[in-house]
């Protein structure tokens, strides 16, 4: 592990990338960055989501990946699975301040406004020759034109502009993306430091924003589907699901949408 690690974000912007997570992966595998790194692309040609999902984006979308060294960040290995939740809570804090309204989180990391997805997060832990790195990919619809995204996305997605920020003029789109990015970088840094200090438990923040609380929930785990009722999250980030067999902690799988 390198002795020098800067906690100042070093931002690298690209016009186009295949995927900011893929570029970040290539970077950390080639050589350990000197500190917190941001790979930011105006456009992704192969933006990735979970599994075979793609992340649709246009010039109104903010897409970037944060690369951090968990050892220098004092993130315990047992805390690493919390990073999707930590990232989601950071986005939520920034968006709530921007819009002046409460928004919800669908465990573990979908950020929703009135049931529509505003942001997506993809966290990957990469083993490199010099140790592990965490890649936190975030895509947030700032002023995306969802009308051209196709029906499936149009009906399930929203943007900051649509959700209360108001129309953003094309000539100010870049400034708005930069503004949101800087707010997010500041918040993620604060939340990561808070995680290493074990302060401000995530479940307290999550509880009033939990879109699955009290709802019938189905989780797909491979060929198996677990059904139950959402009962919040545990301090380790797992979903509490009340099933016919009792209270179960869910760590993996996909929350199915009807």
């Amino acid at each position: 592990m390198s002795d020098t690690y800067s906690k100042q974000w070093k931002v690298e912007r690209f016009d186009t990338l295949d995927s900011t997570n893929d570029e970040a992966r290539r970077r950390v595998l080639a050589a350990a960055p000197s500190g917190r790194t941001v790979i930011w692309a105006d456009r992704q040609t192969k933006g990735r989501g979970r599994g075979s999902n793609v992340w649709w984006s246009d010039e109104g979308s903010l897409t970037f990946t944060l690369a951090i060294d968990p050892r220098h960040e004092r993130i315990e290995p047992s805390q690493e699975p919390l990073m999707a939740l930590v990232s989601a809570s950071s986005c939520v804090r920034v968006v709530e301040r921007l819009l002046g309204r409460a928004i919800s989180i669908r465990w573990p990391n979908d950020i929703e406004i009135d049931g529509r997805k505003l942001a997506g997060i993809l966290v990957e832990r990469v083993e490199t020759p010099t140790g592990p790195w965490l890649l936190i990919g975030i895509g947030i619809n700032v002023s995306s034109n969802l009308d051209v995204a196709g029906t499936a996305i149009r009906t399930r997605a929203t943007s900051l502009a649509e959700s209360g920020l108001g129309r953003i003029r094309p000539d100010t789109r870049r400034r708005w993306r930069l503004y949101v990015l800087l707010k997010l970088l500041s918040e993620v840094a604060y939340q990561v430091d808070g995680l290493s200090n074990d302060s401000d438990p995530l479940c307290d923040f999550f509880e009033p924003r939990d879109s699955l609380a009290g709802q019938a929930v189905r989780i797909q785990q491979g060929e198996k589907v677990i059904e139950g009722r959402g009962c919040g999250i545990n301090p380790d980030g797992s979903l509490r699901l009340m099933t016919d067999g009792g209270l179960t902690a869910i760590y993996g799988g996909q929350v199915l949408r009807d």
Partner: protein, 163 residues
């Protein structure tokens, strides 16, 4: 809103384990046996950079390497021969994926030669996708799980003929 006594007890157990893990890291301890009333927690740690193995609860623990277990020899000479080689176990709870995406080729298949740092699969827990390195040199002889399957801590994933 307070949970049921069972829920609160579970949450308290998780808090206790996290506290103990922090103590192990802080004081560089390799083992802790914690007994209080009817609760027993045993924690073991392989080294300063590895994650503790929690024996009481399957909390996800992304470690630097997968757990390796030598296959057991047959109990009796007349019994069918047990598969030889070493088993790579899941180091965490989550969902096993054989490839980086459904369209991508699997990281390994039977006959693949692996090195210690070769990624053999990805395990997802709470939308954090963790590369799992092989932890040894050798050849994959059997794949014991299906892509998309839920796996537990310590569950055998691969059988390997060590180099």
């Amino acid at each position: 809103m307070p949970g049921t006594p069972l829920e609160e007890a579970e949450a308290e157990n998780v808090r206790a384990i996290r506290q103990l893990v922090r103590l192990m890291k802080r004081y560089d301890l390799t083992a802790i046996d914690f007994v209080e009333g009817g609760t027993q927690i045993r924690l073991r740690r392989r080294g300063p950079e590895t994650s503790p193995v929690v024996s009481t609860q399957s909390v996800p623990q992304p470690p630097p390497t997968a757990t390796l277990v030598a296959a057991q020899p047959p109990a009796l000479p007349a019994a069918p021969a047990a598969p030889s080689g070493v088993v790579i176990e899941s180091p965490m709870v989550g969902t096993y994926y054989a490839s980086s995406s459904p369209d991508a080729a699997p990281y390994v298949s039977i006959g693949t030669n692996i090195r210690t740092d070769s990624t053999v699969c990805v395990i997802e827990a709470m939308k954090v996708f963790t590369d799992i390195p092989a932890g040894l040199n050798g050849t994959i002889t059997e794949i014991l799980v299906k892509s998309g399957q839920s796996v537990e801590f310590g569950q055998p994933l691969f059988r390997v003929n060590p180099a």
